[in-house]
């Protein structure tokens, strides 16, 4: 093993300090007994208790969770379908244009995505609420799913699908029974990615929500404007925990997928 030089140690420390000190302070102060955010008065879990009895926060959490589950599920279905056609559809008119367009929302500023969706919903006369947030989140997280799934599909041996067709499976059966089980890890990590993105989102949700629906990030944002309360710290700590779990699960799933693909390739190489 190479030992790290002192320069490496300093670079690494600096990087991680910048990344994690703010969050660390937030986590520490969420356990502060004092009502004053900046004064440490001993350890307490009091704010977590108060948070659990705060109806407004619980409602917002429930809305966020519903939005995240529904929108990431729809995004996964749509994103997988789009990836499948773009990778598998052969050469059709405008294919390059379509594959470029599906990645465009990845680099589109959220403000623009939010604004355009808002205009669309107003134009359609849709009442803004949970439904519009779900639609908006589906729209922007779908392309992330599509990127994850299509990178797996590219390395997928096409003759497996042909074999399924050859054995009498309909194209839908071939997809359901052969393609989907094999690309499942990528689909799952796509879902987790969409889920965490939806959980985090503030900008797009602010544009597309109405008075009846407030997501947790929006609730935090609006209450912070009236001053930071220890309750918010506690809430943020819980959110950090959830997102961390989500990210770890997603990376484990994709690592599993990669390992599995590698194992398949090695097995194929052994047969050669």
């Amino acid at each position: 093993m190479n030992r790290l030089s002192s320069f490496n140690v300093v670079s690494l420390t600096l990087g991680f300090v910048f990344l994690y000190v703010p969050m660390l302070i937030l986590v520490i102060y969420s356990f502060n007994a004092s009502k004053l955010v900046t004064v440490w008065a001993g350890f307490s879990t009091r704010w977590y208790g108060e948070l659990l009895s705060n109806e407004a926060f619980l409602d917002a959490a429930w809305v966020t969770l519903r939005v995240a589950v529904i929108s990431s599920t729809i995004a996964t279905v749509l994103g997988t379908m789009a990836a499948y056609v773009l990778v598998r559809g052969g050469r059709f008119m405008g294919r390059t244009l379509f594959s470029g367009m599906i990645y465009a929302p990845l680099v589109m500023p959220e403000v623009i995505t939010g604004l355009s969706l808002l205009l669309l919903f107003i134009g359609l006369g849709l009442d803004r609420g949970v439904l519009t947030i779900v639609l908006a989140h589906t729209t922007f997280s779908m392309c992330f799913v599509s990127v994850v799934v299509s990178s797996r599909l590219v390395s997928f041996d096409r003759s497996l699908e042909e074999a399924a067709l050859d054995l009498g499976a309909s194209p839908w059966d071939a997809f359901r029974l052969v393609t989907l089980p094999i690309i499942a890890p990528a689909v799952i990590s796509g879902w987790l990615l969409a889920f965490t993105l939806s959980l985090d989102d503030l900008v797009i949700a602010s544009f597309t929500s109405g008075p009846s629906a407030t997501t947790l990030p929006m609730k935090i944002w609006s209450s912070v404007r009236l001053g930071v309360s220890p309750e918010i710290n506690a809430l943020s700590t819980i959110l950090i925990g959830l997102v961390t779990i989500g990210v770890i699960a997603a990376s484990l799933a994709s690592k599993h997928a990669a390992l599995r693909a590698k194992r398949d390739e090695q097995a194929a190489a052994r047969a050669a």
Partner: protein, 374 residues
């Protein structure tokens, strides 16, 4: 022996199972198959042989239903199969990569096709067991494809494609991934299974030995055209073009002009400094017509002194290739041409009569070679 020889292609009353009728397939500007007409009969083991890019895989994919001909028609048992999708054809294919489903066990892989058309669990189980027995895979039924060896995977692929008892089984370079010993054993196994099941097999291969071993008839292909369709013996002994003679096995080619010298015999003038050679041919040539004499190395004898033979030329030994069972002598003639003569090493540790640079005679009879126009 009362047994009749299996040769439906010589029987004009026999209906072919597959008929390629002026089939052309283009991919953009590239013509993969060029106006091809071909009949394949029931219970045949038919080999499509050719270098890579000759169109043999395209023909197979058209039979399987993954490609459609640009022009012409393909008939299966008298029915035009254009437009019938792959999943509705009574044709199954064994893929070059085997294409086993990695998430399913050997048992489920074999059952996959059966489950698509039947709900009868007992019947499916019985058929799968039968296939496992046929391919001697009973012990591996519960394993996943990555847990078995290459040879076993190859047998799973075969069992899976045979499970639905197709009218026609397509095999795309089925033995390409196996090592030489295993390949030889598997070739005989394939022939055995083909005979037991009575299925028509069409095999695509670039390995001529494989094609010659397994096939009842071989089609030699080049650039989208069929050069010759015949039994392995005829392909080897009576090729009808220089391409086929050269593609299959080793061959000596002498280029010259023909002149008739009696019934079905010709004199071939091939060099200004060498005596003309005699060759028998049922194919007729006019005086002065350009021709090529193709002689297999094992039909050329090598001698110290001038032999009594129809044709004999002198040269010196340039190279000796010792192959164990055979030795091939490369004899250089004064004209610069090289004639290969193959001798069986029938005795162990025999003293070699000839060595490098020795002056020798090579000879062959007038019926040894095949006279070809092109």
């Amino acid at each position: 022996m009362a047994e009749t020889v299996f040769a439906p292609w010589d029987d004009p009353t026999e209906k072919p199972l597959i008929r390629f009728h002026n089939v052309t397939k283009r991919f953009g500007d590239f013509t993969a198959i060029d106006d091809l007409t071909l009949d394949i009969f029931e219970r045949e083991f038919f080999a499509l042989l050719g270098p890579s890019g000759c169109g043999k895989t395209t023909m197979m994919r058209m039979l399987a239903g993954f490609e459609n001909p640009t022009e012409g028609a393909i008939e299966l048992a008298g029915q035009d199969i254009a437009g019938v999708p792959a999943n509705k054809r009574a044709v199954n294919m064994m893929f070059q990569s085997y294409a086993l489903f990695p998430h399913l066990t050997v048992w489920d892989n074999i059952a996959f096709g059966l489950r698509r058309e039947s709900k009868d669990k007992a019947a499916i189980a019985a058929r799968v067991e039968e296939m496992l027995k046929l391919t001697r895979l009973e012990k591996f039924a519960r394993r996943k494809p990555h847990q078995i060896s290459g040879g076993q995977r190859q047998r799973v692929a075969l069992a899976r494609s045979l499970a639905k008892a197709p009218k026609l089984l397509l095999l795309d370079e089925p033995l390409g991934a196996l090592d030489a010993k295993l390949r030889e054993a598997t070739q005989f196994e394939l022939m055995d299974i083909q005979e037991k099941t009575g299925t028509t097999f069409v095999i695509v291969t670039h390995d001529q030995e494989e094609a010659m071993t397994v096939a009842s008839r071989v089609a030699v292909m080049d650039e989208g055209r069929v050069m010759q369709v015949a039994t392995p013996e005829r392909i080897y002994e009576a090729p009808d073009s220089v391409y086929v003679a050269d593609f299959i096995g080793d061959v000596n080619l002498l280029h010259g002009t023909a002149a008739p010298s009696g019934e079905d015999t010709y004199v071939v003038t091939w060099s200004a400094n060498e005596a003309p050679v005699q060759a028998a041919s049922t194919r007729s040539f006019s005086t002065g017509q350009t021709c090529h004499l193709a002689i297999r190395p094992e039909k050329v004898a090598i001698h110290k002194d001038k032999p009594e033979a129809d044709n004999a030329v002198q040269g010196k030994v340039l190279d000796i290739a010792y192959l164990g069972n055979l030795s091939t002598y490369h004899v250089e003639l004064p004209t610069g041409d090289i004639i290969k003569a193959q001798v069986a090493n029938t005795r162990r540790i025999s003293r070699r009569d000839f060595t490098w640079e020795d002056p020798v005679w090579v000879s062959w009879s007038k019926t040894a070679g095949v006279l070809l126009a092109e």
